[in-house]
Symmetry: C2
Amino acid sequence: MSTRDKIMDVALNMFSERGYEAVSIRDICGEVGIKESTLYYHFKNKKDILDSLIEKFRSHIDGLLAHVDEITDKPAQKKGKNVDPSVQIVDSYMIDSYLFDPFCNLMLRLMMIEQFHNEELRELYEKTLFTDPYEIQMNIYKRLASAGMMPEEDVEWVVKESHSYMTMLTFKYLLNGDLTDKRKKAYCKEVHEYMTRRFKA
Amino acid sequence: MSTRDKIMDVALNMFSERGYEAVSIRDICGEVGIKESTLYYHFKNKKDILDSLIEKFRSHIDGLLAHVDEITDKPAQKKGKNVDPSVQIVDSYMIDSYLFDPFCNLMLRLMMIEQFHNEELRELYEKTLFTDPYEIQMNIYKRLASAGMMPEEDVEWVVKESHSYMTMLTFKYLLNGDLTDKRKKAYCKEVHEYMTRRFKA
DNA sequence: AAATCTCTCTAACAATCGTTAGAGAGGTCT
DNA sequence: AGACCTCTCTAACGATTGTTAGAGAGATTT
């Protein structure tokens, strides 16, 4: 890993735990194992580290959304009595590549901390935790309705319900304390319970 | 308001927006209009301000919970076709005296920020945003089931659903950006929509 | 009147903050 | 060989950090 990447990695870990302002350049350099002036060769100032992290996150998210769009653009198909598998594909993909992904998870924590006094991060926070997931779920369930798997008028209500459930679980298990295997398992267990309960009715 | 109270008020406003470490003693003193040494007459150090805020919040919460227990200790009664009004009483009381209360709301924001590197605040955060509200809702719906207003086996599922909905709305509208009247209204509107949809079925 | 208590001030302390100038080592080009 | 580029270092800058000693003003108690 390049020095620049090491700096970003260490900085994100510290920023997401203690907040941007509370972490000093010397804290980061000490952990990376370089002198302060070396850091200033790679970044023009402290803010530049934060901006680079945000930029990296934005392009990461753009990639995820493009991939999800690819799946949900085709109309849903009925396979026997079962729901189209793309629902599960999207869900498990979003969990692996987004909520459980170490980089994304730490970025979400950073946004949670900084959103109260950084308007740019507030908008990104609202988009990635509330707006985008809601839209993704909306697209999925609209496809199911178009394929005749559920009544059109149920879509909004079902989406609001499942979206709120997922969001609550995210805050409770994935954005609370360290992201341990125990918390990941508890999250998966509750998601699974919710899914089986919802799709049996 | 006493100097001590003014310090705590200003400190909470700053801590909840920028985080504990990012706020300096001089920031607080400048806003209150005192010299740094005066602050140290009222608090033994910076940490003591935070501890005092936590202590104040704990006793505030204890008062709220005691009041809610008083209401939900008596068994629910059927008034014609309507649900026992204590459900609405508890809900609107919790909104006014907790989620919309300026002190509590700022404390929730502070806990959101500090939970990642302060174990005491992490536990308080989990308790006040997840554990306690879940238990309160559980008590309410168990009473309704005992009074024959809904099947016993539906209770857990209904509580999980409504609790997750309320929690998501809290994060989306009340712990996101400034607590403006606009956001409060949006919150109330969605709560009302959820309630009417739930209780019509 | 003297002593004590309550509260705020001036002034300073060592430590840490973000940032910079400039030197040097190692590799690649002309 | 000399010039240049990439990367890291030493050493320091002024500003800000949390905290403290000690004086003084005003009210209350002895």
